[in-house]
């Protein structure tokens, strides 16, 4: 337990450093990049000291770390607001979108995976797996516009973008959730198939337990274990994927903030947003790890 905590802390420091050096060690001068070639030297110096770039690298690094501890991520070059404030404003929208996509993926994946596993080898199985393959192969930056075209523009059923109108959550959630649903369905299928071959399932069958109870009660609870790990890992992919989905639907979350900040060359905001997403990803992964231990006593004993 303690070593796990230690590795998490080390990884966290690694991520923080990676994000810092990403911005600071890249060839080229950010000031030049932000102001352009025609800027006056005095303006460059002013921005340089505003960004703290005139200090030695290690001093910048320790300053950055001590700021992080106080949740001080610096100020936006564009709006002059604190980065932490900007991020906090956007977190609820991203969470709402990710959770909706997550739930949707689970609702699609479980019935599909169970259907495929219980009828393995039939055309139901290959159909479900074909569907899953289609799901992972459709890029979300294309699926989004196509859904807008079909449901918003042609059928007029849903809003095109934003999050104010009712029903605005539907298309973004579908766009973001489809690939997760596809991956998850495959995982549920293979995990359930493995469990269905075990001895205790045969025993249950021999005792005359109905197939329904066997699948949904005996088998699925054990088949869920590896799926949980995957869910944790995939939630991170969801957070990262939301960057593109938010851009497609102008969904005002952290991802859209990141993309806008990149276009405005607002480095403190870019740094803060990348850090926030990466740290949430790590935390979710480690929580899943813990959950896994709670659900499966075999791991705790081993």
């Amino acid at each position: 337990m303690l070593t796990r905590l230690m590795t998490t802390v080390i990884t966290l420091i690694g991520i923080v450093s990676l994000v810092f050096f990403l911005i600071h060690l890249i060839p080229g001068d950010p000031v030049e990049y932000i102001l352009g070639d025609s800027a006056r030297p005095a303006d460059r110096e002013a921005l340089r000291s505003e960004l703290g770039l005139d200090r030695p690298l290690m001093a910048q690094y320790t300053g950055y770390l001590s700021g992080l501890v106080r949740f001080d991520l610096g100020y936006s070059l564009h709006s002059k607001q604190p980065v932490s404030e900007l991020l906090l404003e956007r977190v609820p929208a991203t969470l709402k979108l990710s959770l909706a996509a997550f739930l949707l993926a689970i609702l699609i994946a479980f019935p599909l995976g169970v259907l495929a596993a219980t009828r393995s080898g039939t055309s139901w199985d290959s159909g479900a797996m074909m569907l899953s393959l289609l799901g992972v192969s459709i890029p979300n930056f294309w699926l989004g516009p196509m859904l807008i075209l079909l449901f918003s523009l042609w059928l007029g059923l849903t809003p095109v973008s934003g999050m104010e109108e009712p029903g605005s959550l539907i298309l973004p959630a579908v766009t973001l959730g489809v690939s997760l649903a596809a991956i998850l369905a495959r995982m549920v299928r293979s995990s359930l198939l493995e469990v269905l071959n075990e001895d205790y399932i045969r025993t249950a069958r021999a005792k005359g337990v109905s197939e329904q109870v066997i699948v949904w009660k005996h088998a699925l609870s054990n088949a869920l274990l590896p799926v949980i790990t995957l869910l944790g890992l995939q939630f991170g992919a969801l957070l990262a994927g939301s960057v593109i989905t938010e851009k497609v639907f102008s969904w005002p979350g952290v991802g859209l903030l990141l993309i806008d900040a990149i276009q405005q060359r607002d480095y403190p905001v870019v740094q803060g947003a990348v850090l926030l997403i990466a740290v949430s990803y790590l935390v979710v992964n480690r929580l899943t790890d813990l959950l896994y231990r709670v659900v499966d006593p075999r791991i705790r004993v081993a």
């Binding site: 690694g14 991520i15 990403l22 192969s137 196509m146 992919a237 990262a240 960057v243 990348v274």
Partner: protein, 267 residues
Amino acid sequence: MSRWFATIILLCWVSVVLLQPLLQTTPNEIRLDAILAPPSADYWLGNDALGRSVGERLLAGAEIALLVSVATVVISALAGTLIGALSGYAGGMTDVIISRIIDIMLAFPGILLAIALAAVLGPGIDNLVIAISVVGWVGYARLARAQALSLKQREHVSAAIALGCRQGRILRRHIIPLMLAPLLVEASFGVAAVIVAEAGLSFLGLGVQPPQASWGSMIREGADFLLVAPHLAIFPGIAIFLVVLSSNLFGDWLRSWLDVREETTRA
């Protein structure tokens, strides 16, 4: 069935790119009389907001996609395999340090790192390849490390050590060749992942720059004209979808043909 479908699509993709010089396409030529024109007999896939031929831009995008995916997969597979094999074979401190780096990279959502890198490096094809490779090598390294760990226990390696082979030769001749099968499968899924990454970054405006055509940037430009000219966004998406689907199918087939356990990651 699906194997043939995948092979045909992938062959079409490669041959279209190779034959392009013969076709004398002009993907960047602006035709003011054909702005947002729907598909016609002259331009099968229609024209975009500047009257450029969507079909010819699709071919130009195919070249970018092939170029970026081959370069990125080769670079990240080579680097990842070498680093991973070295780590697993050498053991000790080398392994601890490299494993920790791999863990940190894996703890970072890949596309996010690529977005951040592409943003900092600036747009352009070479920077695109760098950004996706920096993210991509980790998967190969993890795989190669696991393989090297188990392979170095094999008897033929002990025999080679007993015969006095040098470390580099053992790694090169006795370990790396045996780990090629799973790496090949990973590379096949890698092509799909890189195409999605390239198109995604170009969609966000971080990849290929105008006027050059990329499937991703074509979708982005098309998204502004969805109602009046849906063909702009539809066709490049179909191209991406077909190629990605085929690479995934091909990887699936390769995995079962080479009899590799399902431990590689899908795009």
